[in-house]
């Protein structure tokens, strides 16, 4: 115990994990940004599909959203990386699989954010747009979407933070992001305590500033 306490002050792991964190975080961020970017495109399409009057389009979107939201992202990643690639004979590398998994997963949650955002805009806006002769697509594009998007920013920011943390599960498909690298570090050094504390900090230096920025944007949007 005493030995463990002194380790807190003298551990070499603080310094030694830094290169792993730097390298791993890079990949973590690449997967998160690219994944959420494509997730936003998917989410916009399926979110608008959920508002469609066509039962078929609505149905397809609902199935996608509920399938994704009803299964753990760990299972989705395993399915994509091992099952899909095996069945179709496509060989994804872990990075591609990770990006696709985040895109599909975040896409479903973002679809609900998009639907909520568009639904929150007063019906009178659509009517006013239509009444000056704009088509429903034009009204969506020039009037509804810009207003809805503003309201989507806070939940989109939250989703970004959630997806960033979700990338840690890609350690199971050997994607060399920060969690994976730290596990390797621990298995070679045999010393888990400080390295995993450092891993927590690795996430926190991204998520805490992100939350602070988000809260600031939220406050500004309120006015």
């Amino acid at each position: 115990m005493i030995e463990n306490l002194t380790e807190i002050f003298t551990s070499p792991h603080y310094r030694n994990t830094l290169p792993f964190i730097a390298r791993g975080l890079q990949l973590t961020l690449i997967v998160t940004f690219t994944g959420v970017f494509f997730g936003f495109i998917l989410g916009s399409i399926f979110g608008l599909a959920r508002l469609s009057k066509s039962k078929i389009i609505y149905g397809i979107a609902t199935v996608y959203i509920e399938l994704v939201r009803g299964t753990p992202i760990l299972v989705q990643a395993l399915f994509l990386y091992f099952a899909v690639s095996d069945f179709f004979g496509i060989n994804f590398d872990a990075l591609t699989a990770g990006i696709i998994a985040i895109a599909i997963n975040a896409g479903a949650y973002i679809a609900e954010i998009v639907r909520g955002g568009v639904e929150s805009i007063d019906k009178g806006q659509m009517e006013a747009g239509r009444s000056i002769g704009l088509s429903s697509t034009q009204t969506m594009r020039y009037i509804i979407w810009p207003q809805a998007f503003k309201r989507m920013i806070p939940p989109l920011g939250n989703q970004f933070i959630i997806s960033l943390k979700d990338t840690s599960i890609f350690a199971v498909i050997s994607l060399g992001e920060v969690t994976y690298l730290m596990r390797q570090y621990v298995s070679t050094s045999g010393d888990p305590f400080i390295p995993y504390i450092m891993l927590c900090f690795a996430y926190l230096i991204i998520t805490v500033p992100a939350m602070i920025i988000l809260r600031r944007i939220e406050r500004r949007l309120d006015v």
């Binding site: 002769g133 207003q147 503003k150």
Partner: protein
């Protein structure tokens, strides 16, 4: 110019309009009065196809609104609508609110659209507000912007859905002035209103609606001074 024949409108099982016949002539100002829930607003919204017509027909300038091949967007661009709650676009400046239609529907150039819009904003007395956002305007100013926005499409007819009902009393006057100017220029107007003063002064004809039908119609003098139908008498005795 507008001919309404046996117009019915139901929301689910509730029949709101139970057979309306009406005719609105060019350059005429027709005021629609009646108690809440009488179907006045629904009637007006049917003319713009904001509500689907359940049965019957509306013909505007020879074009039937129930004709499935009709270009709804083109029709709507010729029928201006002013809403009770203004429905300005809050993320655009006042000027952009007005230029949007001319730019995207009439395909005017930027300069043409801006010139037209500034003229119209001048007409409703809001030239100095062109570059502010609707959020900083009073209700009366907002409604005048909404009028300018509708006029920017050079509509053949203007529909007003209780344009002053959401306004503070002291702001009603400016909006009514703008509407009077419009009427004097010969705009065809259908006005759903609780402003009996406006109906009496500017209306060429007044329709009294109740329970989904037009109960009585006539000149403002006849309706206000000599109502025939007991429901009209009852309604007017309550509000005058």
């Amino acid at each position: 110019m507008i001919k309404v024949t046996d117009l019915h409108k139901s929301f689910g099982k509730v029949e709101v309009l139970k057979g309306i016949d009406a005719e609105i002539n060019e350059k005429e100002v027709v005021c629609v009065i009646g108690p809440s829930g009488s179907g006045k607003s629904t009637f007006l919204r049917c003319i713009n196809l904001l509500e689907e017509i359940t049965a019957g027909d509306i013909v505007i300038d020879g074009e039937s609104l129930t004709d499935p091949t009709i270009d709804i967007n083109k029709l709507r661009s010729q029928v201006g609508m002013v809403f009770q709650h203004f429905n300005l676009f809050p993320h655009m400046t006042v000027l952009k609110n007005v230029t949007l239609g001319p730019l995207k529907v009439k395909d005017l150039s930027n300069e043409e659209a801006e010139k037209l819009s500034l003229d119209l904003l001048g007409k409703v007395g809001l030239s100095d507000k062109a570059h502010v956002y609707p959020g900083s305007l009073s209700g009366g100013q907002k409604q005048r912007v909404a009028i300018a926005r509708a006029l920017a499409m050079s509509p053949k007819v203007m529909l007003f859905d209780e344009p002053t009902s959401a306004l503070d009393p002291e702001l009603v006057g400016d909006v009514l002035e703008a509407m009077k100017d419009l009427a004097k220029e010969g705009m065809t107007m259908v006005v759903v209103t609780h402003e009996m003063g406006f109906a009496r002064e500017m209306g060429d004809r007044v329709l009294f609606m109740d329970e989904g039908v037009v109960m009585e119609e006539g000149s403002p003098e006849n309706i206000f001074d000599n109502p025939q139908h007991p429901r009209t008498q009852e309604f007017l005795s309550k509000i005058l």
